[in-house]
Amino acid sequence: MAEAHPVGFQWVMEAKARGAKVIHVDPRFTRTSALADTFVPLRVGTDIAFLGGIINYVLTNELDFREYVVAYTNAATIVSDDYADTDDLDGLFSGFDPETRTYDPSSWQYATQEDDGGDRQDHETQRETASGMQHETHGMSVDDDVLRDETLQHPNCVYQVLKRHFARYTPEVVASTCGVSEEQFLEVCRAWTQNSTRDRTTALVYSVGWTQHSVGVQYIRTGAILQLLLGNMGRPGGGIMALRGHASIQGSTDIPTLFNLLPGYLPMPNAEDHQSLEQWIDATRNPGAKGFWSKADAYSVSMLKAWWGEHATADNDYCFDYLPRITGDHGTYRTVLDMIDGKVKGYFLLGQNPAVGSAHGKAQRLGMANLDWLVVRDLFEIESASFWKDSPEVETGEIVPEECRTEVFLMPAASHVEKEGTFTQTHRMLQWREKAVEPSGDCRSELWFFFHLGRMIRERLAGSTDERDRPLLDLTWDYPLLGETQDPDAEAVLKEINGFDVATGRPLATFTEMAADGSTAGGCWIYTGVMKDGVNQAARRKPGNEQDWVAAEWGWTWPANRRTLYNRASADPEGRPWSERKAYVWWDEEQQRWTGHDVPDFEVTKPPSYRPDEGVDGIAGIAGDDPFIMQGDGKGGLFVPQGLIDGPLPTHYEPVESPFRNPIYGQQANPTRKEYPRQDNRMNPSPPEDGSEVFPYVFTTSRLTEHHTAGGMSRYVARLAELQPEMFVEISPELAAERGLENGGWCHVVTARAAVEARVLVTERMTPLRVEGRTVHQVWLPYHWGTGGLVTGDSANDLLGISLDPNVLIQESKVGTCDVLPGRRPTGRAALDLVTAYQKRSGVHGDRTVPIVTTGPGAAGDDEGDPTGGGGGAE
């Protein structure tokens, strides 16, 4: 956090000054570790084992916040008798099909509801469409007749299932798997549990060190289970905080430039399941379930009205058929491989530099070299614009400028001070930026570019009678244009996002005003309220020192300017604060309403005593003590019967590339992960396969304070470039001795994809760990460099192959195996030869793919079945 979010870290330092204990768990000793009370180095890719061990500690010693757990989580809910755990099945859950490497989740459902999970998409489709991301917000489809045992004694209640599942994660197992000492592990257990009470809360902060794994979603799940068990969710000073790394990456998820989502986490319709408006809406509102998704019809129709205005009517299903359909994985990695295969004509890069920033840099660059045209919009001439003349592939001869057909337009972009608009930041807060100066020369905003591109496309299609052109021609595409450059008025766009009454144009004050009858329009329902009363709430700048500590009048936070989600949980079931010290939102008996420091995340007049009648669903189905109002049962999900492709509970799997056999189960790595087995995407072998010894070391990558992501906003900036001027790799003194590396000298790191050179920084901040009785060396690389800018160097992301989390299709880029050699890497063809030699030595060449299923029928070595990576319909 001190490395990548230094200004956010001021609050950690302030908490520390007031007596908080700061624990930092990280493979490498960073600037955060330097200021932490306790630093726990662990083996990369073993976080689930570590957190699972803490969960086991909590459950074994019954240290959970019992009243919270019983009332607010699904701990008491009874799971189907058919459910079988990884504990029984050597690392697989019940319902596994080794052919497709996916699960039939019907046995994971709650008792009496076994058929419900099957109503949903099958998991193969879900993996293809990253629909786990939709489930993440849509919650579960659960009927209200679930069986519960609030004594938590029923052998199949979630609490007991959890207890059995995590029983293996003993301190000894944690120590030997993660490479931490038992003593230190228990210190963390004690600190976390002792600080999680009525009076105290513990916060958990993570970043892409958790998400960028083949089991990334389950990393977060493990944290969520622990925080729910300890009563830390929805309470001040608690929670799970994702520190996001780009100014508006939260915004670009809310208003998603993502293939599987529409604004407000509505799903992009898929061709199979969403053939009608109703089917599409039902996929979100889960008929029969409780909670606020039951109003998905209003959110969905309002979005269609915002886009197609008067053309969207009840008769034509509000132009639902204008939406294109997805049919599978259309994620960025799939698309890049399609570029290599010649299937994509044109590509826009909008402030993003995949030649350096995405996994498997070579695949990125070869893909871009095989397009009809490429439009790069950026502040600088980044590597993704100049790949055709200066990429590593030009040096190796894999890209020859005279033979590279891609037409490139480098369009200069306006900077953050040269345009107005909102970012949505890590705390879901929208903050408006004023325009300070006009952009110079040809620099233009994305708003300008896309508005005018749309205008020109519509002009070209004007008069077309082709049905396919209707969505473009009927699109609402008229915004006031300002100034000499004719920039669209960003606030007018924000008004459309906010939503309005169609008849009067009045901005909506809250999404509960949205209707499903076409009388309201609104581009992104969760942002409704940002233009409440026609006032730009995101531009509010009431000084912090003139407000209370919640500072609700600075910017605007979705939803409804609520600063802490699920804050109903900050009060006990009767609506009283758990303690005075941790009072946040509570029920005011006198006024008969919820009140407190924040906007209550609950129907404001629904008393804690409210109980829905039998059979009541939707918002009315949420009881007065159900704080998790977006979940189908109103409860926090310790066990997740739906929505996760790799299992209802987190399980330790080894990273796809690991020098170790999974010490806990026969199943080596995530069996359901998304793979693209191709000759240009080799994965290093791992046990039980031979050849892993060729890549004996573990590497991980991350950021430096002084740089920003792929370097497009730091290597071209002198003040930052000089602070970290060269690519380097951090090596422990022990590994330096083993490999003959000198501090300040050169080395190169080799994987089955690439050889990357770097200066050597020998440092005791890198710790060799004892894992499963032997020593493992880990090396760390920053990934900021490329061929452009004031300071150049090899790109760490070139080392990575493409292997994805099955739920959200995010790549495993935080861990891989490698070799480290002294001196600079060979250049030109010799660099390719070196990598090829490593592929051959490790056995990953020809048609050989690394096996994925390593236990049970169909496992590697079993004659039956196809255990290789061909499953999942990737090809």
Partner: protein, 323 residues
């Protein structure tokens, strides 16, 4: 108005702005208290300083000295963050077989150690928790007795009403006398890059004199995310620093000590002083700096006879200048 040279004008406690002729309306002496125990080494201070003062970037080489790539304070580096990696103690045989190769992995940080550690720490550095990554943002000390100022023959270096020491780049002729005079090696003439402003002129931290004049905080302190760099009245900062040391000592961090806060030290105390977690040498500070003009008064007595000649010389020098 005072025609006499103060007893402490060259040595000992002194209010330097008063000594430099500023009247009683002058602001209180301003300075920095840099609490290195909460420095996160982000280098925001270095960047904010360069952005405000238009200090050029001129070196793009990795030093392989931890994360320190700005080398030292110099003409193009008015703030400099030092990174010190302190090794773990050696593992004795039989230790540490469980948890790692270097024995315990409990890398006790400069924070609250386990019970009893305070006593251990008090007994000597050998038992200090093993590995530390110390970070510290260095800057011109704005000495009470500033030798750079006293040796400056042109009057370019001067004492401001805030008690700080600033180079007037419209006066400096680049003679360089100030460079060896500084006991900390702070001040330097700018040699590069070509085309940068003030090449040849002596350069160092001004404590953002222009910002102070407008009632603002110096750029580095304004940016510092953790308030490791604190700006304010020196008197108040010294009190705050003493309290912070007490607080750390109570928490068992017996290594905490102040550097530069003592008006009785060799430079009369500094306007920019530090809380350190180890000996000054560890951070690259001289352990016992002494103002190089300490003996000027004594020399002065012997030089009275030459005063007239000196005066004449000065008059000639200034007659040659434009008014």
């Amino acid at each position: 108005m005072s025609w006499t040279i103060s007893e402490n004008s060259f040595w000992g406690p002194l209010d330097p702005a008063a000594d430099a002729g500023y009247d009683e309306d002058r602001p209180k002496r301003k300075g920095f208290f840099t609490d290195t125990s909460i420095c996160i080494g982000c280098k925001a201070c270095e960047v904010a300083c360069k952005e405000w003062n238009d200090v050029p970037a001129d070196h793009f080489d990795m030093t392989a000295t931890s994360y320190d790539n700005s080398h030292s304070l110099n003409a193009n580096q008015w703030r400099h963050v030092a990174f010190i990696e302190q090794p773990k103690r050696l593992v004795t045989e039989g230790e540490g077989q469980d948890s790692g190769l270097r024995g315990t992995v409990d890398l006790g940080m400069p924070t609250v150690p386990p019970t009893g550690a305070a006593e251990q720490l008090a007994n000597g550095a050998d038992d200090r928790p093993d590995f530390r990554w110390l970070m510290s943002s260095d800057v011109c000390k704005h000495c009470t007795h500033a030798a750079c100022l006293d040796v400056c023959p042109t009057g370019s270096l001067f004492r401001t009403e805030f008690g700080t020491v600033v180079v007037q780049d419209d006066i400096c002729n680049g003679c360089g006398y100030c460079v060896p005079a500084c006991p900390y090696g702070v001040i330097e003439r700018r040699k590069a890059p070509d085309g940068a402003k003030n090449v040849g002129i002596a350069q160092k931290c001004t404590l953002c004199y222009d910002r102070l004049d407008a009632g603002q905080t110096p750029a580095c302190a304004q940016a510092c995310p953790t308030q490791s760099i604190q700006y304010g009245d020196v008197e108040e900062l010294r009190e705050r620093a003493n309290k912070r040391v007490e607080q750390l000592h109570e928490a068992g961090i017996m290594d905490a000590r102040l550097y530069g806060n003592d008006p009785n030290d060799g430079v009369g105390g500094t306007g920019a002083f530090f809380l350190l977690l180890d000996e000054p040498e560890v951070y690259g500070f001289p352990p016992d700096p002494v103002v190089t003009t300490k003996d000027l008064p004594a020399m002065y007595k012997h030089a009275v006879a030459a005063a007239g000649a000196l005066l004449a010389g000065a008059a000639v020098a200034f007659l040659g200048r434009r008014p």
